[in-house]
Symmetry: C2
Subunit: 281 residues, 2 copies
């Protein structure tokens, strides 16, 4: 199954036989007070710079979040999208929990965006899926619901299946649902990643949808996080992960993702790998 | 299934719920002319030093090869084993294609060694398996036979199954057979690693034996090999690889293996990871 996103001029295909897609994660004011204050004041210079840096480092898409407390999130998200479109043409993931912000962003976006995200909660499904359908977007489906986050892979699968079916009722095809099997913090539970990987195998084998993760969650709270996150991504890829929201500028994560492309035959004869090596010399 | 190897004083357990076992690969004169010349001249100082360095870097076992052209391989291998035993107590993998050298080494070794290796060729099986049984050793079973190396995962599985069954005829239990599903060079064939991973999944699901690889083969001929080899190991682990012959002193490979232990819950609450980080600071 392949998911295609596109900006006005550029398409990205996500799929099991495609190079892994990095969705650059830095454009997000949570935990970045300065960025949030600048955005609220109408200064998007840092947003533009971060967008350029992520893309230069290899991000094929960008996640854009404008959740600044008190500010008008819809207006900020629309502004961020327009500013980013001036510096790069990679397709965007529109990241908000506020339906009005998503609606405004989808209306403003030129292309086919990825909506980040919907859960299996009925209320969220009824709010978000009509927007996704109306604007011909794709959407990230989180495998949690009213009951919270289950540690049973079969239950997470059932939530994913419910979202895929409900989306189909709204006329959204399965290839436009990218499932997030939920990556939790290994420091809090030594089984956390095994549960995520088992969920991925089930989703791959039973549903076949593309999958995305906030990969960095797994290493939260530990030192030397890059190696941990990179190891998680490599392992998750052979269980069905086809893209991830990650910081493309992290050299360990970037190299491991590109090395994974070589190993899985998605960078044939290592052409990109060798070209990057030569450019660096 | 768990495989236990031991020296006179130290045991190592290889298994899917154990930390990944690195078998240090540097004690091998192929491609190391100077080392070979020194060994042939009776100078094992570099062998001793390499053994110490590999173990200090995290190798839980050492692969020992004494294949120096013209020299008496059996005598050199026995000497190498004795010299190494004076500097470290990690269990050894005795690496030779010469039955006489393996026989002499097994007779000299105090503990339960890993024999590297036997193939599915009838002649090799009849030569090596009696030695393994006689000395109570374990053995690496390469998934190739008289017909060469198959690119069909099912065929490699059938070779592995044949060796496990033949070993059982000799009274060697399945847990003492560590299967090498064969890792080939991705630069020569973009499907090489996919075939290896598919073979691993079959062997894990159908036979359940531990598996080992010469992981570095996958990145042969390419630049920046550490990331490629490390990505392969991370991916292979979730397909059933439980140990690898690798250079423990390579920082990227070492970190990725330890990060994998954390992610798979084999380093509970990241205790070792955090301890190493603190020691380094």
């Amino acid at each position: 199954m392949e998911t295609t996103l596109h900006s006005k001029t550029k398409a990205v295909i996500i799929g099991p036989n495609q190079p892994f897609v990095m969705i650059g994660e830095r454009i997000n004011p949570s935990g970045r007070k300065k960025l949030g204050a600048e955005m609220a004041a109408g200064d998007f210079s840092r947003v533009r710079r971060d967008a350029e840096i992520q893309v230069a480092a290899g991000a094929q898409m960008l996640d854009v979040n404008a959740g600044v407390p008190i500010a008008d999130e819809a207006a900020l998200l629309v502004s961020a999208i327009r500013e980013i479109a001036e510096v790069t043409d990679v397709p965007l993931s529109l990241d908000s929990s506020v339906a009005e912000a998503l609606e405004a962003a989808l209306a403003a976006y030129v292309g086919k965006a990825l909506v980040n995200s919907v859960t299996g909660e009925d209320e969220r499904l009824e709010m978000i899926l009509p927007l996704v359908k109306k604007h011909g977007a794709a959407v990230i489906a989180m495998a949690n619901d009213e009951t919270g986050i289950s540690m049973e892979p079969e239950y997470r699968l059932s939530v994913a299946r419910k979202i895929v079916q409900r989306a189909q009722d709204y006329g959204i095809p399965p290839e436009d649902i990218i499932i997030d099997p939920l990556a939790l913090t290994i420091a809090a539970d030594p089984q956390a990643v095994q549960v995520t990987l088992a969920t991925m195998r089930l989703i791959r084998d039973e549903l076949g949808n593309n999958m995305v993760c906030g990969a960095g969650n797994t290493s939260f709270g530990l030192p030397e996080r890059s190696y941990l996150t990179a190891a998680f991504i490599a392992m998750a890829r052979v269980c069905g992960l086809t893209c991830a929201i990650a910081d493309a500028t992290n050299p360990v994560i970037g190299e491991m993702i590109r090395a994974g492309d070589v190993m899985l035959g998605q960078d044939e004869y290592a052409a990109n790998w060798i070209a990057r090596y030569r450019a660096r010399k």
